[in-house]
Symmetry: C2
């Protein structure tokens, strides 16, 4: 079940939360855990809280950076309380669930930030979508593993209703392919002086958002790269 | 918000779970916590995990037994994985949410058992309804505070959709009134030898289930007690 969905924890401070997350995942049929730069792992504290599910911890993959961690996936969904700040498309929890369940030939990452500060702005830019779990106005401090529990529960619940459909496999670009293109485009824009020190940050953001929304296929990325190459050739003529 | 809903933890072993529960509750707008016979409370461990919500712990009420704890409420909903064993009416999570949101003039208890074994059979008999959170078949060991998080989240979410309606206040019997009647009836049945050592357990269960389903009003309880009294008078004549 849910073999195409990874739960990704970024910069987790407390090893206990990694153990609780493993338990939360397994109760809902999720087994694929990715850890990006955890403060302490493996750890006795993680094992202690992963009652009956150290298998999830043993098969967890650890990466030094988010980029590498999500390279081979197709769709990245970031959890964040700060949806207004970003212009990245926002999904409700329900729509996120429908989307993930809509096509199990795609590889999804559901990405959770650190306990203290969540996902950074640069991490959010790598996300195709942002999801925010609604909380009561006076106190919004959801525990990390509690957030994982809520999202995995909603997916598990709805998976019994929406029958999983394997759509005709369109060959969506991997995150790595897509980001290689985006970096190439940014290089080019620096080259052309379209990008300056002043506008670099906001432009980078806009480019990410635009191409994340496009749900690029591999062929389309190749085409875009071909376009960039052709521009370079022309420039160097 | 949710001032008519108590979260009741019975025989909690780990004080950390009490702290995590307080946090889970507060993120979804719940503040009323009842603790029945906790192993350790108050506790440093509870406080440490109740980040920013020690107010919930400070106002928590502690009782030595479930009976006393739920005496002044109207409706008791017990969480249990063992729904098949009992013949107590079972609600899905969705139906439970609709029921609790349907009438905020009633006092609801949502009752969670101990980490190791959940609610006992005798505790379940005090419940009007049982709710079971669906989990993946291979591993159903939901953490206590994770279970509280899921139920409170569902209630909070749906409360934004179903507008809270205060129905014309029918004067539902309190749990104390109802159980006083049930005990009187059982005493009478012992008196009449309808109840024996052999059938006492199963009959007690059936009586509880029957009258819990009836959603008794105070007037009805009074009437039933009057009937019992009249029988005693006749017997002693």
């Amino acid at each position: 079940m849910f073999s195409n969905v990874h739960i990704v924890l970024v910069n987790t401070s407390h090893p206990g939360n990694i153990g609780s997350t493993a338990r939360a995942m397994k109760t809902m049929g999720f087994k694929k855990l990715i850890l990006v730069n955890p403060k302490e792992f493996p750890s006795e504290k993680s094992n202690a809280l992963a009652v009956g599910c150290t298998d999830v911890l043993k098969t967890a993959k650890v990466f030094p950076s988010l980029d590498v961690a999500i390279g081979s996936s197709n769709i990245n969904i970031g959890l964040s309380a700060r949806t207004r700040k970003a212009s990245i498309p926002v999904l409700s929890v329900d729509d996120c669930v429908k989307y993930v369940l809509s096509n199990n030939s795609l590889k999804y990452n559901i990405i959770f930030g650190s306990e203290a500060s969540g996902l950074s702005n640069s991490d959010l830019l790598k996300c195709d979508y942002i999801v925010s779990i609604p909380t009561y106005k006076d106190y919004s401090s959801l525990n990390l593993s509690a957030a994982v529990q809520l999202i995995t529960y909603e997916l598990y619940q709805k998976s019994n209703i929406h029958k999983l459909i394997t759509k005709k496999s369109t060959s969506y670009a991997t995150t790595k392919e897509k980001n290689y293109f985006i970096e190439s485009l940014i290089d080019l824009m620096n080259e052309t002086n379209f990008m300056s020190v002043k506008n670099s940050k906001s432009l980078t953001k806009k480019i990410h958002i635009l191409f994340n929304k496009a749900n690029l296929e591999s062929d389309e990325v190749n085409m875009l790269l071909g376009m960039i190459n052709s521009i370079y050739k022309k420039l160097n003529k």
